[in-house]
Symmetry: C2
Subunit: 206 residues, 2 copies
């Protein structure tokens, strides 16, 4: 399949987004990604951490140890990032949906080494909790060596976005059924730590 065809949104094509601004916003907001790879005909999908630096996406690869053993020159992977924005409750079961923003990035992953590894780990740490790199003890050479980070060029990539209200059939509009969107988002427990302060870079105990 041609690369531009591989990432083209086929189902609900009006939800496809191909501009880097949309793609980068999704990559930068999400805290988790799912890394897909294949070994001996079996696909695997594992959750892990990611961070974007310019036109590269870094993925924390340690959890993919079984894949890394196969990673001599590079391996085809898929990194998918999904932000879940809402339950879309329609008047018919069929038109129920979810609001979401997702990015699918295909490419050949390579291992990050040396100076780039430090920069990538910095980005991964800041993605999780901005400002934390400066606050916590930075990695030793030995710790860096024990960290596996993969790099992918942000080239073969697309986003898919569903937002807005349910789309009911005209004949269902008058059914006595509540319809609308239940917005959802990832929230921190305010009781233990003010995550918003973390995200703003103002760190410290609650």
């Amino acid at each position: 399949m041609r690369p531009d065809k591989r990432i083209r949104i086929k189902r609900e094509p009006q939800r496809g987004r191909y501009d880097r601004e949309t793609i980068d916003l999704i990559l930068d907001e999400a805290l988790l990604c799912h890394l897909g790879f294949e070994i001996d005909g079996q696909p695997y999908v594992i959750p892990t951490l990611h961070a974007r630096v310019g036109d590269k996406l870094y993925v924390h690869g340690s959890a993919a140890s079984r894949m890394l053993r196969h990673l001599a020159g590079g391996v085809r992977v898929c990194v998918t990032v999904t932000l879940f924005d809402g339950l879309v409750l329609a008047r018919s079961v069929f038109n129920h949906s979810v609001n979401y923003r997702s990015v699918v990035l295909l490419g050949e992953a390579t291992l990050v080494e040396d100076d780039e590894k430090l920069a990538a780990l910095h980005a991964l740490t800041e993605q999780l909790a901005p400002g934390r790199w400066e606050e916590a003890r930075q990695p030793t050479a030995k710790e860096l060596k024990a960290t596996w980070i993969l790099s992918l060029p942000i080239e073969e990539v697309s986003a898919k976005v569903r937002n807005g209200p349910p789309e009911d059939e005209p004949e269902d509009e008058d059914l006595p059924v509540w319809a609308g969107v239940v917005p959802v988002h990832l929230a921190a427990e305010p009781s233990e730590y003010d995550w918003k302060r973390v995200r703003d870079g103002r760190l410290g105990p609650a």
Copy 2:
């Protein structure tokens, strides 16, 4: 690779869970899953909806239309479900982590047909918003035909769970760095709709 080896947790093996109770709780709590499959040497990972009924996992397959075209007798897939529970902020960058519960299910997906399809769609709808199947208009034969659902046996499966506080090195314990867990969870906007009421089956506008 032998099936039991494929799902065995290799990295951080103490986080591995193989009991169905843990696995089912994770599958039943999560609202989204990521479906992994491979076409022509390229892995793909797409977000979609799932629901468990007994020993089967149903996955809404419409988004995987490019995969479904390959699905004659069955296709190897991976379904991964991830619940993100917290940011784990350690005193060293190296020991930063996340608390999570995830399930990885490998298997051969088959298309669901006929009566089972209605039951599967019921389960998928109830997973998203319990009670909604009864409230909304149920699917017509035509709508059912337009819905693609995949089924996987819950057999080749494992869970991975990280919880608890950061694990700092003994020599870092006295560093003047705040360390702890920032619990996170998926929350609904209370302003628009009381999702807790939806989850309890008491439906209606806010």
